[in-house]
Amino acid sequence: MRLVSLDVDIAAPRDMTRRHSTVATFTLAAVLFAGPLSAQEQLPIRNCTWCHGSSAQGFANAPRIAGQTRQYLEMSLQSFKNHARDNPYSKQYMWGATANLDAEMAHGFAAYFSELPAEPANDGDAALEDQGKAIYSEGLPDENVVSCIVCHGPKAQGYERIPRLGGMGYAYLKRRLEQWGEGYHAAAEPMPRIARNLTTNEINALASYLSFIK
């Protein structure tokens, strides 16, 4: 019941919220005041889009979360909350953003953002696109670099807890892959072992290729 009314409200475009049925708005307000949330969190989506961009396509250091798989979003929110994801920007921004998030809210946010349409960032180096595509689909067997396609899918669309990578921002993807090599977010099986085997050049190529996928 709580979750249903939350979904109804957050699924409405922001400028529609005021015209929303009194019943739904009232229930949402009751939910929020019942929890340990501060007053500014009455519009929970805005709390996220403030950093992630108004349509959740990513902004500055905050990655695109629109169109990400629901299971991955939900798992990620838990991993910020329990501090398993300890990358510098995660610590700086997302630990706080998830401190008061209960499981139900995490589920609601994940469901909401996974349904939003995603746009490709298109911000990689086009000259590296072919190299990135080759590593993504074939791996580098001589160097024990696995192909990414088996888990992340032919269109980098993701699968359940395995995230969608297609069209995510170049700088974010590069940082993620590099930080596993530096020891951050060690719990993210199997990615630390995979990223450790990649050179900087290979990371740049992969991040470039992925940034162009629609």
Partner: protein, 209 residues
């Protein structure tokens, strides 16, 4: 030729992230590194992994079957682009050592198949379906589905993998014409099973220890 390609790639790998790749070439290109590579896809205990595609369980698998299949992948008799790339750089000695390693692993079965038709799966496995010319699987794969030599272990295999293997048998295996290979043995069996029967047997096998 493969040695040349490897050497070039090592020279190209100059970043600090992969620095350990060029030091002590053996540890980065030796048996342990190759094993870890296989396990990244096939599961840390060889139990299989479900990504966008299913990576089959290798734990407890017959070494002869593994070696046979890797040859089939690299000769493209068994069509799979991912495993073609994996297989064509392996030396016979490395492959033999990897196969022996996987044979010795024994993680619990992954399970996960739908439970509605397990009884039908058990019947097919033990007795076959004489009225539709489906032999008992146990006749070749053994009463505990552990396999023997070129005949694979089926026990504990991932449900979606077995289902796919049975459903697309003739499209993925025994390709490339004249060359006779062991996959022909399974053709009549896969022809005569309905989709529902395939699902039942794949589910039954996914729970077998």
């Amino acid at each position: 030729m493969p040695i040349m390609a490897g050497a070039l790639a090592v020279v190209a790998a100059s970043s600090s992230l992969a620095a350990d790749r060029d030091e002590g070439g053996d540890s980065k290109h030796g048996f342990q590194a190759k094993l870890e590579y296989c396990k990244t896809c096939h599961g840390l205990s060889g139990e299989g992994y479900r990504g966008y595609f299913s990576m089959p369980r290798l734990a407890g698998q017959q070494p002869k079957y593994i070696e046979n299949q890797l040859r089939a992948f690299s000769e493209r008799r068994r069509v799979n682009p991912v495993m073609f790339n994996v297989a064509h750089v392996l030396s016979p000695a490395t492959l033999a050592a990897l196969s022996a390693h996987f044979k010795a692993l024994n993680p619990p079965p992954s399970g996960g198949g739908p439970k509605e038709h397990l009884a039908l799966g058990k019947t097919i496995f033990e007795e076959g379906l004489p009225e539709s010319n489906v032999p008992a699987c146990s006749a070749c794969h053994g009463p505990e589905a552990k396999g023997h030599e070129e005949i694979p272990r089926l026990a504990g295999q991932l449900y979606p993998y077995t289902l796919q293997a049975l459903s697309y048998w003739g499209k993925e295996r025994g390709q490339g014409g004249t060359r006779d290979d062991t996959s022909a043995i399974m053709v009549p069996t896969t022809h005569n099973l309905t989709q529902e029967q395939m699902s039942a047997i794949a589910a039954y096998l996914s729970y077998m220890k």
